[in-house]
Assembly symmetry: C2
Homo-oligomer: 319 residues x 2
């Protein structure tokens, strides 16, 4: 029988698991809650026992697996298989993930950060069409990125792919990283709401979004996009601004890397073609002519499954 892969997508609220074929077909999937109590010390033992439990359930042995791949928040050391500073997991100190999971499951283990792993997933089985040149941007609470070139993830010294921290407006909004004008401050879910609040102050026309903000109602990026789609004047202005900065960042990324595809995923990308069309307009305005002709912007296709699929693909190096 062909050997299988296990993919693990470790998040702050759930841990997703999948068993896949070496071709990336999901055969089984399940998930458990992330227990971040006691400085996150339950997380790795929970992962180990959940994998072992399911192997028993499916009557499978460790020898039937090529390996386990995992995506994690925080700063990942690929070689050592460790994670540090994953604050949404309460992991403040160095976690020996690889060592513990290999010992606990008797299966080889590889790890990378969550944005990189999602990029691998979309590249392999999603919008990236298994191309060797794919950039992935995820628009969520923050803005993350994963870059594949020459068929491999780019890691740089430590932190390649910090698309969310490209400066799109010098002296712009203050970012959690300490800099000003990072893409994330405009194009993340929270950034979009920030732009809305900012623009609302000076907005004089008629707008439901303006009304809601003035009423103190809770606004989300989803609401902003929904109202913009219904022609809300303020909503449209906010979306235009957000897409302008996204288009500028995609163009500068394209001018450096000229990938076949820039894949846009994450919660905000649920706005779909409405978002993509506007980002593409500004991308075309700012991209170098050859890049404009050869790099295509696309929406992500795998949704939640990008993580487990991409994570699993990390283990293919053990083949």
């Amino acid at each position: 029988m062909d050997k299988k892969l296990i993919g693990v997508d470790l998040g702050g609220t759930t841990i997703k698991f999948a068993i896949l074929t070496a071709e990336g077909e999901i055969q089984q999937k399940w998930s458990i809650e992330t227990n971040i109590l006691d400085e996150g010390t339950h997380i790795v033992p929970d992962i180990i026992s959940s994998i072992n439990h399911h192997l028993k359930l499916y009557n499978m042995q460790p020898e039937q697996f090529i390996g386990i791949g995992m995506g994690s928040p925080g700063t990942v050391d690929l070689e050592a298989g460790t994670v540090i500073g994953a604050y949404n997991l309460n992991w403040k100190t160095l976690q020996q993930i690889k060592k513990e999971i290999e010992k606990g499951t008797s299966i080889r283990f590889a790890i990378d950060n969550d944005a990189n792993v999602a990029a691998l997933g979309e590249r392999w089985k999603g919008a990236g069409e298994n191309d060797n040149e794919v950039a992935f941007i995820t628009l969520g609470t923050g803005v993350g990125g994963g870059l594949v070139s020459n068929g491999k993830l780019l890691h740089g010294v430590k932190a390649a792919g910090e698309v969310g921290h490209m400066i799109v407006k010098p002296n712009g909004y203050l970012c959690t990283c300490g800099n000003h004008g990072c893409l994330e401050t405009y194009a993340s879910a929270t950034g979009i709401v920030r732009v809305a609040r900012d623009f609302a102050e000076e907005f004089a026309g008629s707008s439901k979004l303006k009304q809601m903000l003035d009423d103190g109602q809770e606004i989300t990026s989803k609401i902003v996009f929904e109202l913009a789609k219904k022609n809300d004047l303020l909503g449209k202005r906010v979306v235009e601004q957000v897409c302008y900065y996204l288009g500028l960042a995609c163009a500068n990324l394209g001018n450096l890397l000229n990938p076949s595809y820039i894949v846009i995923g994450g919660g905000v990308s649920a706005a779909g073609e409405f978002l993509l069309k506007r980002v593409d307009k500004y991308f075309r305005e700012f991209a170098f002519p050859v890049v404009e002709k050869t790099t295509t912007l696309k929406l992500a296709q795998l949704g939640n499954e990008a993580g487990v699929i991409g994570a699993a693909s990390l283990a293919l190096t053990f083949e």
Copy 2:
């Protein structure tokens, strides 16, 4: 005897050649003029006869070489070994470089574009310290770039490394590429003069640079830097602006690729530490904290020889 490499750096005025060891030590070098007459049809035959002539001179046989590597202007097709659209060589139609040179010399041949080859040279034997993560920016008549990550040049679909066409100021100066606000329009030799002319119009204080411009004297980027070093007020303002955009571009490049080194070369980099210090100041302002800590800006070290050395290294794949 250990096999050797041949490096060829094809430029619009001269063609540089070198014979190197597989470790990148130059053992012989020479150059010939580039004859661009008759649509550049003499160039490839001239290269072949110059190589064959020097092999005879040094009493060497084709079998003693691992291969020939060449850097060329224009759009290079690596696989096919062809070049098109190298306008400073009068090459408007497709040139079958690899085919002709392999036939003419009986030595294997590899080619890439001139900026990439210079990047490989600086990475291998220059400021890049043979690191796997090196970005190279060349400030000349234009602004070019070459990016090495995971130890390999990034090509993207066609045109990765277009550092000169990163947008540093939306709606800024019009670039030859048709876009506005490309780095090249501010930080190339001609861009710097453009900034000087632009700033001079609104400059009211005392400045030799202002005087020279008003007198209609010919200004070069070298003069601008020399005067700035002598505390010329307008000169300093121009240099500050140029370094601001360079620092911003380096930071965004760093945020995406997080290389060990961003190496700055080309004619303008002759301004040395005076330039580097100011670019670094803005790089640090705009770089993501981890990138600021792990990516170092450096001046190029090989000067004119980067081309032949990097070109030669292309042939190492034939080993």
